[in-house]
Every structure is written in structure tokens, then in C-alpha cells.
């Protein structure tokens, strides 16, 4: 799966991604606001590529592909790099020196694999999985040793099908931690600091895309109608109960 020699297209894609991330990060750092650093109005967003699409978007879905890139490792650490999936839905920005030097190793292989979030633990309520989950691994080469915490944090940016609240991370996919996150370029992407490999997922409030909501005004009307019907049915029992309670009371009053 390793891509030793990136194609011209990939180089161009990486170049654009680098510029995008640099502009995003710089804009965030300078303004501290949710911002839209790119020009709008260029056409619709590319359809989201789902590992397991919801029914509404199953037709025409393109399965997302993984990415694997070798990053040069020198005595002063890893080179600056941007690793993104071919659909650019998951993007990793690693600054120069993000991975510390490691013995005789000369490279770090960064791999991003899209996953169906249903195969992992669900996020804690009230969040729902928003789009694909991603398993990100970093390994030294040629030793194959897994990279631990980064020497310098990078950024992770996930494209999301619906507005996300945050990026979630997990070491093993069993319990999620919510990262301090920021919408990037509007509601279509969410980003957070990246401190090391693991599982990553965007979390959103609300129903999962494509799921039909059963709660509605009709539902409320039915609730009201149901309560009234239950009360009406309970009416004879209520009357009987009140009569039974009242009779002894009256007697007691009369006795006094």
C-alpha cells in the first residue's frame, strides 16, 4: 500500500492541501475565529465518500480509499508533510520535527485507513458519528516500530457530511475522547490538534444523516390525544375511587 513515489497528481493534491492547511492554520492562529479562508461559489461540494453510506446516499457512493505516505526522517526529526486520503476527507498536517529521530530509521510511514464507525464504539451521548472513522498509524522505517506521542503536534482536518461539533480520538476505538476542535472553512470540515496515531472520528449532535425522525408535531398530537384517551378511559375508575374515598369521609364527618 505504500506509495514510494507520489504521482504528479498526488504531488499537486498535496501541494494544494499544504496551502489549504497553512492558510487555515494561519488564519485560525491570527484571528481566533471560525473562518472561511477559501473562495466560495465554485460549485457544489464533492459528494461525501462513505465506507458504509446511509440509505439516502447509497446510490452513487464511492468507497473511500486509504492513504500511505513515507515521510523522510533525519537527525533533527521528520520532514514537514501533509498526508491526506485520495478524497481529501481526512488530512494530516505534520510540521517539521513532528516525529523525533529514532536510531537508524530513515522514514516514518503514515497510514490513514477509513473505517465504518459502526465497527467501533459509539461516541458518548449526545454525539453521533459524523461520517467515516479513520485509523491513523505512524511507524518508523525500516524498523517498523510504532511512533508514540509526537514531538511536535500537528493538525487533523476531517471533512464531514453534516456540521460537526468536534473531533474525537481513541487509542483503541473503544472509548472516545473529545478534542478541542474548530470548524474549518464553514461547517464542512472540523479540525483539531494531532498528537499521535489512533482512531479519529467527527462527532455531531442530532440524528444520523438519512435516518427518519419519528418525533414530530404529529407525534406530539398523538401524545396529547393518547393522554386524553387514557384519562377518559380512567374516568369511570376515577369516579368509583372518589366515591369510595368520600363515603367513609362523610360518615366520619357525620359522626363528629
Amino acid at each position: 500500500m505504500s506509495t514510494a513515489v507520489p504521482s504528479r497528481t498526488r504531488k499537486a493534491g498535496v501541494g494544494i492541501a499544504v496551502v489549504y492547511v497553512v492558510v487555515c492554520v494561519a488564519t485560525i492562529a491570527l484571528t481566533g475565529h471560525h473562518v472561511r479562508p477559501l473562495f466560495d461559489g465554485i460549485g457544489p461540494a464533492a459528494p461525501y465518500q462513505w465506507v458504509k453510506p446511509p440509505p439516502d446516499f447509497a446510490a452513487g457512493n464511492t468507497k473511500p480509499k486509504p492513504a500511505s505516505v513515507d515521510v523522510a526522517l533525519k537527525p533533527d526529526g521528520s520532514a514537514a508533510a501533509v498526508v491526506n486520503t485520495p478524497d481529501a476527507q481526512a488530512l494530516l498536517n505534520l510540521p517539521q520535527g513532528a516525529v523525533a529521530a529514532h536510531g537508524a530509521d530513515t522514514k516514518v510511514t503514515v497510514t490513514i485507513v477509513p473505517l465504518d464507525p459502526a465497527t467501533l464504539a459509539p461516541p458518548a451521548s449526545p454525539l453521533n458519528a459524523d461520517g467515516n472513522a479513520y485509523r491513523i498509524t505512524l511507524k518508523y522505517g525500516p524498523s517498523g516500530v510504532v511512533v508514540g506521542a509526537l514531538a511536535k503536534p500537528g493538525n487533523i482536518v476531517l471533512t464531514v457530511p453534516q456540521p460537526a461539533r468536534s473531533v474525537l480520538s481513541s487509542a483503541d476505538g473503544r472509548a472516545w475522547q473529545e478534542l478541542a476542535s474548530q470548524s474549518i472553512g464553514g461547517t464542512g470540515s472540523v479540525g483539531a490538534a494531532f498528537n499521535g496515531g489512533g482512531y479519529f472520528l467527527a462527532g455531531a449532535h442530532g440524528t444520523v444523516t438519512g435516518a427518519s425522525s419519528k418525533s414530530s408535531s404529529t407525534g406530539r398530537t398523538l401524545v396529547i390525544a393518547g393522554v386524553v384517551v387514557v384519562l377518559a378511559l380512567a374516568l369511570p375508575f376515577l369516579v368509583t375511587w372518589l366515591r369510595r374515598r368520600r363515603r367513609p369521609g362523610r360518615r366520619r364527618v357525620r359522626r363528629r
Partner: protein, 423 residues
Amino acid sequence: MSRLFRRAIVLTIMLGAFVGLCVSCNSSASDDAISIGMLYPTSGSQGVPGRQEMRGAQLAMEWVNAHGGVHGRPIRLVSAPADRAEAVPSAMDALHHDGIAVAVGSHGSAISAAAAKAATRDGMLFWETGAVGETTAPGIANGRNFFRAAPMGANLGRAAVTFIRDEVTPRLGPHGPLRYGVAYIDDVYGRAVGAGAVEEINRSGQAFAGAFPYPADTTDYAALAARIAAAHPDVLFVSAYVNDGVALRKAFVAAHVPFVASIGTSSSYCMPEFGKRLGIDAVGLFASDKPDANVLRPAALQPAARRMFTWANDRYRARYGASMSAPALSGFSNAYALFGRVLPRARAITPASVGAAAVATKLPLGALPNGGGLDLAPAGAPDAGENRNAISVIEEWVAPNKMAVVWPPAFATHSIDPVTPAR
């Protein structure tokens, strides 16, 4: 009936009323306002024109509310985020959950198609104010749960071919039969507009050089241009977005492809960005589109529509520093058609009643501030839910960075000047 029994009945009624009141307290319909959902992209790749169209819809709400609302009830717009199609089902579910039965949107054809599907599933009514793309997928009840006040994409395509055939070619001087080619981006927007063009070419017996759909991720426009040129079209119809439209046009210019005429549609050829990026290379190109405030002739409007147009354009300029763009004017006019003309005729704010009122409301051309009217085809018609009186105009890039309406005559601000577009 004993006194106890009467008391129990009263108690039951009071309890029922109390529960009903408590439950409805969460509802957005808890006051007198009519809540209408609003789905527009406000960020992302369609954020700028989406926001403009949304602002137009908001102005329509303000106008109607300032003129008595709907039988005294004000309209309140409830926004739901929909920057991309995948966000639409959740956004519509959220509106439905809040008891909202009718929603307006959406500017983008992919968003519109998803909204039409969600509205049908949730039993809502979605009123399209700007997007022109196809909504013919299974599971969409056009004419019941989906109405489009904006022109249908296929109509833009048909209008483009009709205009070239009837208005441009007679001005070209002696020539043989012209061959028509159709290039379109292969998505819900491109297919809808391209299909209308192909249909009109075939219907009117024109020579057809071929249809050239291309995927959204096309990068080699020189190859695409060469493939189209190899079919030797004299007239090229293009349904594209800005980036691909500009790239394809540059490829034709670089290859010196000799078109007699070329015409595109709303999401590229008519965009100011298209003219800015192409400069002289855009001059002579035509665009089939919705009108914007800069090219519209107010004199062509009915007096009431003219007053509304002036009011809205002045207010828009004061707030946002520019005249109403085509999306803004489309949002204003088409949302007004719903708020000001359809809702007052509806017996209740339910999809069925509003849908029936929509089909029954007939407005002639010039009755709406964008020059259009309203004549929605009923469910069951071949064009169910589409507005047969939607307005579209033909514009031409008459100078670098300058566009003018050249057709129809009622809205034309410039004569048709068929200069050969490719050099």
C-alpha cells in the same frame, strides 16, 4: 349525572388541556407566527451565492410581515444548516421535529434534490427558490411535497438552444446547417440543463454533433476540448460550474476551436467570476439564466412588482453594499411568491393545503419582482411541481467583464451582438 362525575369530567378536560399546553410549549408554533424552515448553504463551496439567496428570502419575509403578514400572522424563518447535500436529511428532520411543515431553499441542485427527497419522506413541503437541477429520482413527490418556483434546468437548456436557433443564427449571414454540441458536468444540475438542450436540439430537427458529459473531478480540459472539437460542433451549449466552465473555455481558446456561437447557463457563464477570470475571452458568449438586479428592466415589471423590486434592491444594497445578485433576486421573488401569494390562499399551513394553494395560484409574467410569474404544474403532470411561468433571460458578455440582457425584448438592455466567441 352526579356532581362527582361532573367534577371528574372537568378534571379530565383540564388535565388534557394542561398536558396539551405543556407538550406544545416546546413547539415552534407556540405563538402566532407562521414558522417556515429555511435551508441554504451559508459556507463551503456554495456559501456566497447561497447566503445571497437566503438574504433574498429574508427580505421577502420582511416585506410580507411589513404588509400585514399572512392574514395578520407574521412569518418567522427558522434556519437549518445545509451546506452540502449530506447535511439535508438531518436538517429537514430537525425542522420536522420542531413542527415545521413548509421549508424554502436551497440554491444548490444537489441540496435541492436531497431536500425534495427528505420533504417527501417527512411529509413536508419544500419550496425551491433558486436551484434548477433535476428532482426526478424515485421517492420524490413533485407537485405535492416539492415545488420549484425557479426555472427548471431543462427549461434553461431549451431556452438556450431556442435562442441560438431563432435569434442568433438569422443574424449570422449565409451559412449551412449548424451542428449543435452539448457539454455538461455529470451531476443533477448539469444533467438537467444538458438534457433540456439535447431535447430541444432533437425536437427542432437541428444537426446534433453529440453530448459530452464530464465528471466533476475532470482535470484535463484540453483533452475534453479536443474530444468535443473532433465532433465539429458549430454551436456549443455548456452546463458547468465556474471552475470547470472557465477551464473548458480556456482550453477551447487555446486550441482555436472555431465556434459560431457558444452559450452556457446559470452556474458558470452568467457568474461575474466567469467574466473576471476570462476577460476578453468571454466576450461574445451567451448565458441562459435568472436575471439579477443590474440587468433587470424595472419597466418590464407590473407596478406592484416594480415597487417591491425597488424596495428590496435598495434595502439589499444598504445592508450588503451591492445590488441584488441573481440568487438574491431569485430568493426574494420566489420566497415572496410563497409568503405573499400562496400562503394567504392556503386554508391551513399544512403541506396539502399549501400545495393546493400553490397549484391554484396563477401569476402572469412580470407579476414577481424578478419578472417571473407563477404557474405550478400539479402532481401527475409531466412537469409536476415546476413553474411554467418562471423567468429566464439570455445574457451576453458584450465587453470584457460586462454582461447585458439581450433576450427577451421586454427585459433586453442590449442588442444581440453575435460576435464569433472563439478566436
